[in-house]
Amino acid sequence: MNLRLVLLLGALVASFALGCRRAPPPPPPAASARPAKSAVLFEPPPADSSVLAGPAPSGASAAAREQAVIALLRGMAPSESFPVIATDDGGVVDPSLRERLAPRPVLTPTPPTAKGLGDL
């Protein structure tokens, strides 16, 4: 009897712990729809697993098609989980490509001219 009780309690504790682990993390501040009152910078959110969504399938009624689009335009669709395709192979972008395509002019400061030991 005691053994059964211990096993039951153990299963409950394990279930609770796993459930906690599955709980989604709190949304990052960047998810807020309105800007903060002070200057704040956010890094981009980590890439989540993509959600595939799109227009209603062929054969769907016009009303169903409209509802799918309206949900997206009303912010009711998981648009932030749509796949990101910013490169031809679907990989991440390389910000340094900018320097190769349009190099910024390099400003080379003119070294001071030493006129004597006192200037060194």
Binding site: P35, A39, G54, I70, L73, R74, G75, E80, F82, I85
Partner: protein, 345 residues
């Protein structure tokens, strides 16, 4: 700007080659249309790096689309066509991009750091298939604001006025004619005399228009059959508004259509600091709505946009917009919702 870019900058950029129409023009992927001579020679304008700022005033429902057009060795005319959902206002402006790059970078090696005339309407008169609403000089470009209700007539107008068109141009234009969009056609006029073929030129153009959602004319004409891409390409975008937006486009591959985010997000800044905004936006400061504002960075490095539709910045949380105003954008996200031909204004 409705169709491509100058801002299509979006681009759907059409390059022009006045006087070369009979010599076999060729369209290039990425919306640029160059003459064959220009395309294959060393004088092809360099359009591989684009910088765009979108300022969207959600309350006034007005967008400022600012694009820097950089080109090298432009000894011949070239041009762009940019579609816009309402009648645009076109103007040149001092580039804000140097300060934007400095103050609002895409990423940082430092990791996480805390820091302190309205056009409106789409009704087109039935009288003329193409109407020239405005012609003006904008920097080194001649800007035409157009309205059209027939893509064939529009293609003809572009060809007659020195813009190179290809068989792929017409279906691209048809999409916007069906949407009742306007167009900004920008034609570069090379300076007389001997051009400096080494120097890189950059000009910044602002196209402002009313829209219920921030819009980026992203779709481009399909590349001509048999053409190849492969040249690196990069778009840098700054998006600023009163709230965050998620860039979404329809991607069609064969029978499959999905909604995707065609740009990778970088840093985002939330600020009401006037000093920072002044430092970052410089000449574009007067375009901003009242703070607090959100500045978002995006980069796109696809060489081909084949299959991608235009980009709409959708809200990242529930809102309750006026659906009547949004209805004209429905076909951008689901082409099956396009009005039957002849039903458009």
């Amino acid at each position: 700007m409705r169709q491509s870019s100058v801002l299509r900058v979006a681009l759907g950029v059409l390059v022009v080659a006045a006087g070369l129409i009979a010599s076999g023009e060729l369209a290039r992927a990425c919306g640029g249309f160059f003459s064959r001579r220009t395309l294959e020679g060393p004088r092809r304008p360099a359009l591989s790096y684009e910088k765009t700022l979108i300022v969207f005033d959600r309350e006034r429902q007005r967008e400022h689309f600012v694009r820097e057009v950089a080109f090298r060795a432009a000894s011949e005319p070239f041009g762009f066509v940019v579609p816009t959902p309402s009648r645009p206002e076109v103007a040149s402006m001092k580039s804000p991009f140097e300060s934007l790059e400095r103050e609002f970078p895409f990423s940082s090696e430092l990791g996480l750091v805390g820091i302190g005339s309205r056009g409106g309407g789409v009704a087109l008169p039935a009288r003329a298939p193409v109407r020239v609403l405005e012609v003006k000089r904008v920097g080194s470009f001649t800007s035409y604001v157009l309205a059209a209700n027939d893509e064939g007539a529009l293609t003809g107008w572009l060809a007659k006025n020195g813009f190179v068109t290809t068989p792929e141009t017409t279906p691209w234009l048809r999409r916007y004619v069906e949407l009742g969009f306007f167009y900004v056609a920008m034609r570069y006029e090379p300076p007389s005399g001997r051009p400096n073929l080494v120097r890189t030129n950059a000009e910044t153009v602002r196209i402002s228009f009313d829209t219920p959602l921030a819009y980026y004319p992203y779709a481009e004409p399909e590349p001509p059959a048999g053409s190849t891409t492969g040249a690196p390409r990069m778009l840098e975008l700054w998006y600023v508004s009163q709230s965050r937006g998620v860039p979404v486009a329809l991607l069609t591959k064969g029978e499959s259509s999905t909604w995707v985010r065609p740009m990778q997000a970088g840093r985002q800044f939330s600020t009401n600091a006037p000093t920072l905004l002044k430092r970052g936006f410089g000449s574009a400061l007067e375009l901003l709505p009242a703070p607090p504002l959100v500045v978002q960075r995006f980069i796109d490095q696809k060489q081909s946009r084949s299959g991608f539709g235009d980009v709409l910045f959708v809200p990242d949380g529930p809102v309750n917009p006026k659906l009547d105003a949004l209805r004209r954008f429905f076909p951008i996200l689901d082409p099956a919702l396009a009005a039957p031909r002849g039903a458009t204004p």
